[in-house]
Subunit: 350 residues, 2 copies
């Protein structure tokens, strides 16, 4: 093969998983390596895309990938010694793929490193609206925001005036679910793990009410006070004891969109949920979903959401850490609720 193209080779810092884990992840389970390099050109004949990573998304589902699983799941396990992968926002440096050219902004699966060679560029989305902050494509306009849209509108099938409860409500997904629900004319309550987050829910995102679950000794009573007539829609992000309390308070024909169960991800044995009998007597629908199944609706979501972001009807809070060095701590912090709003890592701003 002839090799006529320029071969700029630069350093490429990256975050690798050191070993498979059990229990809560620790910073020391990951390592930031500065020894790697990358060639800034895609090999001739390859349909790959080389990108410069700008913003990386810290998402709860990544915890699952840090353990070894016997049975395959919807995401593969990470490989110890290799770079972490996840969703991110990036700028195209070089491309042989007809859909992408140098300078394009994209979001999708990428590596936790400065530059990534994307060998399946069909999984990347080209960013259409660049007059909103590009970091929004890790959250509000990326996978979490799209998850909120699909989970709320497609799975919950809300009606005006319904009673909506959202757990982990100030997180990447929850804050947007609550704002969609308010736009639909629902009554919306959220739970979160600090008074600062509760204040955000009430004062910034327009929730009707919110509470700090860590300060409630009786979650059932906490919900009953806020929903004397019960809950029509529960947007489930946490699982465990909160789900049990919600089941006691659901209304007949209530719907539970099971988006995640972050309270359970680090437990050796998940908590038991005892109140499933109410699923029968109240004719509840619990439905799990993963946004990957709904990619054909992405542009519908963007066209719905972007105008409402631009005119201020939808707002979004991000928790940004600077630099790959701080990425492991940011990811670990998710499982302790240290983030306020969408957690992301700025690798570079341009």
């Amino acid at each position: 093969m002839s090799e006529k193209r320029e071969e700029a080779v630069v350093a490429n810092k990256k975050v690798v998983l050191k070993h498979y884990i059990t229990g809560f992840p620790k910073e020391s389970d990951m390592e930031v390596l500065t020894t790697g390099t990358v060639r800034l050109k895609v090999a001739e004949g390859s349909p790959a895309v080389l990108v410069k990573n700008l913003y990386l998304s810290c998402d709860p589902y990544m915890r699952k990938r840090m353990s070894k699983h016997e049975e395959p799941s919807f995401v593969s396990d990470f490989t110890p010694g290799e770079v972490l992968t996840g969703f991110g926002v990036a700028k195209v440096v070089d491309s042989n793929h007809p859909n992408f050219k140098e300078g394009d902004y994209v979001w999708g699966p990428t590596g936790w490193e400065e530059y990534s060679l994307i060998t399946s560029p069909e999984n990347l989305f080209k960013i259409k609206y660049t007059d909103v902050p590009p970091s929004y494509y890790t959250g509000l306009l990326g996978m979490p925001g799209f998850t909120a849209y699909i989970g709320f509108f497609e799975i919950c099938k809300p009606k005006k005036g319904e009673y909506v409860f959202i757990s982990a409500a100030s997180g990447a997904v929850g804050q947007l679910v609550g704002q969609y629900a308010k736009l639909m004319g629902c009554y919306v309550v959220g739970s979160a793990g600090s008074d600062e987050k509760v204040s955000l829910l009430k004062n910034k995102f327009g929730f009707d009410d919110a509470f700090n679950y860590k300060q409630e000794t009786d979650l059932n009573a906490a919900l009953k006070r806020r929903f004397p007539d019960g809950i029509d829609i529960y947007f489930e992000n946490v699982g465990g004891a909160m789900l049990d309390a919600v089941l006691l308070n659901m209304r007949i024909h209530g719907r539970i969109a099971a988006c995640g169960m972050i309270s359970q991800y680090n437990l050796e044995k998940p908590e038991g949920v005892h109140n499933l009998m109410f699923v029968v007597s109240k004719r509840i629908r619990i439905e799990g979903f993963i946004v990957f199944d709904h990619y054909h609706k992405y542009s519908e979501f963007v066209e719905f959401t972007v105008p409402r972001v631009k005119d201020g009807r939808i707002t979004y809070v991000e928790d940004v850490v600077e630099g790959l060095e701080n990425a492991p701590a940011a990811l670990v912090g998710l499982f302790y609720g240290l983030n306020v709003g969408k957690q992301l890592v700025a690798v570079a701003h341009e």
Copy 2:
């Protein structure tokens, strides 16, 4: 008021609840009273219907009504000292209601007694096909059979070739679900609590396989052996540990119709279900339903089912006890799995 009508007053044996219960019901929680009488005419001006009860249905949901509940459910609690109520097949003795006349066969809510005055006859169904055994309207063509039809076709939305698992599969509902699933071209496995029942499932109802859950030390392994490729549809009648094992074995986009959870009805604190995280990763839909919400489909169900009963494609096994004296034991036996097939009480045969 003038009273010109004949007033035949006859003895009216009945079963009453003695007191609210906790835990497993016992025969001694009920009492058969022979002291009552009934006037065999409906009072003038009343739209009620007086019926002679022929067959009474013993159903698991009745356990719930034997305890006192703070919050109202879809069925009311029984009242101690008063006659039990439930579904039954009866013959009209007298009626002022335009839809019913003397001699009609009906099924619907009635009392556990020889004669009942039905004050809400709009809840009765007039029996159209009398060339099948009338007792079938407690089971195959009554509430349990209709439950099987709605749960399987409306909630599970089966497709040809799918893998179907049914718990309590030889019971009033399960035996019919399995036969519907076979008619749809599904692969069908059932669990039951005795070898006799397992034999019925395989040899009489045409299940592809069946197992005695009491002889399995590892339900997960028992399911894996029968469903190496996983379960698309689970028809849930038992809850608890079986549900947990099923969640491990569900396929992506699997559906669970939550019809009942009989293993939990007598527990002070229901068992915990630990594997709900699979609802998210496998995008499972768990949907509770109650057949009362689907009454408008009853004649569709009957027209679908009766021809298949008449030509032998659907069969049905009943466990009949004779006489109201034996009704308490029959009801209690349900919770110990003593019944083989649909449990009912023959109060009278004509």
